[in-house]
C-alpha cells in the first residue's frame, strides 16, 4: 500500500500545483451552495414520497415494482458496460502494468463504486418505500427500505466486479442478472409483507439481505487484486474514449464506441445474402446488413419489446395530472428509439462513405432501402405501446393502435436524419435569454432528427395526450391526417437528404 501511496504522492507533486487555502475555500463554498440549493427540493420530494407511502394503492404496486426492477436492471447493465472497475487512462497505462500490488492501485476506484452504489441504493430504497407503502412507523419502514436498496446495489456492484475479475463469469453475467432481478422481486414482495409484520421479523429480513450483500462485497474486495490487466485496460480505454467524447460534446461518437466495442472480438456465423436480393436490387442488398445486425442482437429486440409496456406501466402507476405528458413523452422517446436502433448503416455511410462508394449504390436508393427497417420497427413498437394503453383503458375505445403504423414513416425519416447529423457545431452563437444562456450548437444538434419526426407525427402527438384525459378527438380524420403527414415527411426527407450522389 505504501508503494502505491508513494507513487500517487509523486504523481500529485509533479502533476499539478499544490492545493492552496483558496482552492479549499472554493471547494467548501461550492459544496455549501450545492447543499443549500438541493436541500429544499430533496427534502420536499422525500417528504412527499414518504407521505405517499402511507396511502399506496395496492393496484399500482405491481407496475411500480416493475419500473423499479427495470431501473435496477439498467443500473446493473451500466455497471457491467462501464467495467465497473476503471482507471484514468494514465493510471491504466502506467500503474496497472507495473509491479505495484493491484488492489491498492484500484482502491480509490473501489471507494467510488461503493459511494455510487450507496447513493443509487438510497434512491432505490426511497422508491421502494413510495411504491410498497405499509403501516405506521415511517422511520422503521424507511430504514428497512434503505437497507434493502443499498444491499441490492452494493451486492449487484460487487457481483459486477466479480464478473470482471473472472472473465469466464462475464458471459454468464446477463443470465445472473436476470436471476438477481427475480430474486430482488421475490425479496421485495417478502419485504412488502414484512413491512406490515412485527418489527423483529422485519429487522431479521433486512439483516439477511445486508449480510448477503456484505459477503459479496467482501468477495469483490478480495477479487480486486486478481482483475486481469487486459480487462482493466480495455475498460479504462473505453471509459477514456467516452470521457473524450463527452468532453468534446460529440455524443455521436458514443454510438460508434458502443457498436465497435460490442462487435470487437466476437465470432459470428457468416451467412450469404438472400438469393432474391443478390445482384438484382443493389440498394435492398446493401440495406440487408441492417436487418442482419438487428437479428444478431436479440437481447436488444427483447428490451425494445419489453419497453412497449412502459407507457402502460406509467399510466397505471402514476395517477397524476402530469401522467399524460409523461405517457406522451415515453411514446415519443420509445418509438424514436426503436426507429434509431437500426440506422447504424446509414450513420456509417454518412460519416465515412468509403464502403458506400465501393458498393456503388446511389445515396437516395440506399437511404430509401435503409428506411424500411426503422419504419417497421417503430411501427411495431408504437402499435404495441398504443395497444397496451388501450387494453388498460387509458385510451378511448377504437383502433388507436393503428396510429403506430401511420406514424412509422415520419419516425423513420427522423431516425435517419438523426443518424446522418453532423457533430455539434460549437462555433454557433450563444443566445442570452432572461432564463440563462442557450448554446445553439448543441440545441440544433439535439433537435436534428426529432424535428422531422415531430413534424410528421404532429397529428398523433397532439391527439394522444388529450385523448388520455378527455377522449375527445375523432379517430377517422386523425388517421387520415397522420397517414398523409407521415408519408409526406418521409418522401420530402428522402428527396432532399440524398446528397450529391444521385440514385
Amino acid at each position: 500500500m505504501s508503494d502505491v501511496r508513494a507513487v500517487r504522492a509523486f504523481l500529485r507533486s509533479r502533476g499539478r500545483a499544490p492545493v492552496t487555502w483558496s482552492d479549499r475555500y472554493v471547494t467548501v463554498f461550492g459544496l455549501v451552495v450545492a447543499a443549500l440549493v438541493l436541500a429544499h427540493p430533496v427534502t420536499s420530494a422525500f417528504t412527499s414520497l414518504t407521505a405517499a407511502a402511507g396511502q399506496t394503492d395496492p393496484s399500482q404496486a405491481g407496475a411500480g415494482l416493475a419500473l423499479i426492477a427495470l431501473a435496477y436492471a439498467g443500473f446493473m447493465r451500466l455497471a457491467r458496460t462501464v467495467g465497473p472497475v476503471v482507471l484514468p487512462a494514465a493510471d491504466a497505462a502506467w500503474l496497472v502494468l507495473s509491479p505495484l500490488p493491484r488492489r491498492p492501485v484500484l482502491a480509490r476506484t473501489a471507494l467510488v463504486l461503493v459511494a455510487v452504489s450507496v447513493v443509487a441504493g438510497a434512491a432505490l430504497g426511497v422508491a421502494l418505500l413510495a411504491v410498497l407503502g405499509g403501516g405506521g412507523h415511517v422511520a422503521v419502514r424507511l430504514a428497512l427500505a434503505l437497507a434493502l436498496g443499498m444491499s441490492a446495489t452494493l451486492g449487484g456492484m460487487a457481483t459486477a466486479v466479480l464478473a470482471q475479475a473472472h472473465p469466464a463469469w462475464g458471459s454468464r453475467f446477463d443470465a445472473g442478472l436476470l436471476l438477481a432481478l427475480v430474486l430482488l422481486l421475490v425479496t421485495v414482495l417478502v419485504v412488502a409483507f414484512v413491512m406490515h409484520a412485527p418489527a423483529g421479523l422485519a429487522a431479521a429480513c433486512a439483516t439477511a439481505c445486508a449480510t448477503a450483500s456484505a459477503v459479496l462485497v467482501r468477495q469483490a474486495w478480495a477479487a480486486l487484486g486478481r482483475i486481469p490487466a487486459r480487462s482493466l485496460l480495455a475498460a479504462s480505454t473505453r471509459a477514456g474514449r467516452v470521457a473524450a467524447a463527452a468532453t468534446l460534446i460529440d455524443p455521436g461518437v458514443l454510438s460508434w464506441i458502443a457498436e465497435d466495442d460490442h462487435w470487437r472480438g466476437r465470432v459470428l456465423r457468416s451467412r450469404v445474402w438472400p438469393r432474391l436480393l443478390r445482384a438484382r436490387w443493389a440498394a435492398p442488398a446493401l440495406a440487408w446488413s441492417d436487418w442482419r445486425r438487428l437479428g444478431r442482437r436479440p437481447a436488444r429486440l427483447c428490451a425494445l419489446l419489453a419497453s412497449t409496456a412502459l407507457p402502460s406501466l406509467a399510466s397505471a402507476t402514476l395517477a397524476s395530472p402530469a401522467t399524460n405528458g409523461l405517457v406522451a413523452a415515453l411514446l415519443a422517446i420509445g418509438a424514436m428509439t426503436a426507429a434509431a436502433a437500426c440506422t447504424t448503416g446509414a450513420r456509417r455511410d454518412h460519416d465515412d462513405p468509403a464502403l458506400s462508394r465501393l458498393s456503388g449504390v446511389g445515396a437516395r436508393a440506399a437511404l430509401t432501402a435503409r428506411a424500411v427497417l426503422p419504419m417497421l420497427l417503430s411501427a411495431a413498437w408504437l402499435t404495441l405501446a398504443l395497444a397496451g394503453l388501450g387494453v388498460i383503458g387509458a385510451l378511448p375505445p377504437g383502433p388507436w393502435w393503428s396510429l403506430g403504423i401511420l406514424c412509422a414513416p415520419a419516425l423513420a425519416a427522423g431516425a435517419l436524419r438523426m443518424a446522418r447529423r453532423r457533430p455539434i457545431d460549437h462555433t454557433m452563437p450563444v443566445i442570452h435569454t432572461p432564463a440563462g444562456s442557450i448554446p445553439t450548437g448543441p440545441l440544433i444538434w439535439a433537435a436534428t432528427g426529432a424535428d422531422v419526426a415531430a413534424l410528421g407525427c404532429l397529428p398523433v402527438l397532439a391527439a394522444v395526450p388529450t385523448s388520455v384525459s378527455a377522449g375527445t378527438p375523432a379517430l377517422g380524420p386523425l388517421l387520415v391526417a397522420q397517414a398523409v403527414s407521415g408519408v409526406a415527411v418521409l418522401v420530402v426527407f428522402l428527396l432532399r437528404a440524398a446528397g450529391p450522389r444521385g440514385g
Binding site: L268, R278, A279, R293, A354, L355, V361, A365, P500
Partner: protein, 205 residues
C-alpha cells in the same frame, strides 16, 4: 485515356499542395505515383476520385470530370484510409455484400478469402483483425467487385513483404484484364513488381 490530369493545382488555404501536375493512364496500365511525404500523392488521388476539386487545371476520368455519383463509383474503386466497417457483419459478409450489390464480380467470395489469406478470419468482425489483415480485406473488397479503374492510396500499408508480392501480381492481372490502376505508394519494390510506370511528385514550394 481512362485518366487524364492536366496542369492540376491544389491549394489548402494559402499553401500550395499540388502545382502543375500532369498525369495520364490508359486501359491496362498501372501507374505508381511516388514522392516524399507531403508531395501531394493522396491529394492527387482525391482529385482523380472527384473528392477534391482542383484549384486549377483539368481532371478527366473516362473522358468526363469525375463526379460523386453512383454511376461513377460503379466503374471506379477507391482504397484509401481504413473505411468504417459495418458493425455486426463478418469479414466474409463484407465480401458477400460486395457480391450482392454488384453484377459479375471478378472473384467469388471463397476465392477472395483464399487469395487474401482471410479464410481463418472469415467469421470475425473486421475490427478484430490486425492492421494488415484489415488492409487485405479492403483490398479484397475492391478487387472482388467489377471496376475499370482502381485508385489505391498506399495499398502496401500494414502488409507483410510476401503479401506485397502477391498484391503486385493481382494488380498486374487486373491491368492485363483491361483495368487501369493508379496508386500512390512509397514501396518502389511494389511498383516495380506490378510493372508500374512511375510518376514522381515533388513537394510544392
Amino acid at each position: 485515356m481512362i485518366v487524364m490530369a492536366r496542369d492540376v493545382g491544389v491549394v489548402a488555404g494559402e499553401v500550395p499542395i499540388l502545382t502543375g501536375i500532369d498525369l495520364a493512364a490508359g486501359p491496362g496500365e498501372v501507374v505508381a505515383v511516388v514522392g516524399v511525404n507531403g508531395a501531394g500523392k493522396s491529394t492527387l488521388l482525391r482529385c482523380l476520385a472527384g473528392l477534391q476539386p482542383p484549384a486549377s487545371g483539368e481532371v478527366g476520368v473516362f473522358g468526363r470530370p469525375p463526379a460523386d455519383t453512383a454511376a461513377f463509383w460503379r466503374d471506379v474503386a477507391v482504397v484509401a484510409d481504413e473505411p468504417a466497417w459495418y458493425p455486426g457483419l463478418t469479414v466474409r459478409e463484407h465480401l458477400e455484400l460486395m457480391r450482392a450489390v454488384h453484377h459479375d464480380t471478378r472473384l467469388t467470395v471463397e476465392a477472395a478469402l483464399e487469395e487474401f489469406d482471410l479464410v481463418e478470419r472469415a467469421d470475425l468482425a473486421p475490427q478484430t483483425l490486425s492492421t494488415g489483415q484489415r488492409q487485405r480485406l479492403v483490398l479484397a473488397m475492391a478487387l472482388l467487385r467489377p471496376s475499370r479503374l482502381l485508385l489505391l492510396d498506399e495499398p502496401e500499408r500494414g502488409l507483410d513483404t510476401a503479401f506485397r508480392d502477391r498484391l503486385a501480381t493481382m494488380l498486374t492481372r487486373y491491368a492485363a484484364a483491361g483495368g487501369t490502376v493508379v496508386m500512390a505508394t512509397h514501396d518502389l519494390g511494389l511498383a516495380r513488381a506490378a510493372g508500374a510506370r512511375r510518376v514522381s511528385l515533388e513537394a510544392a514550394a
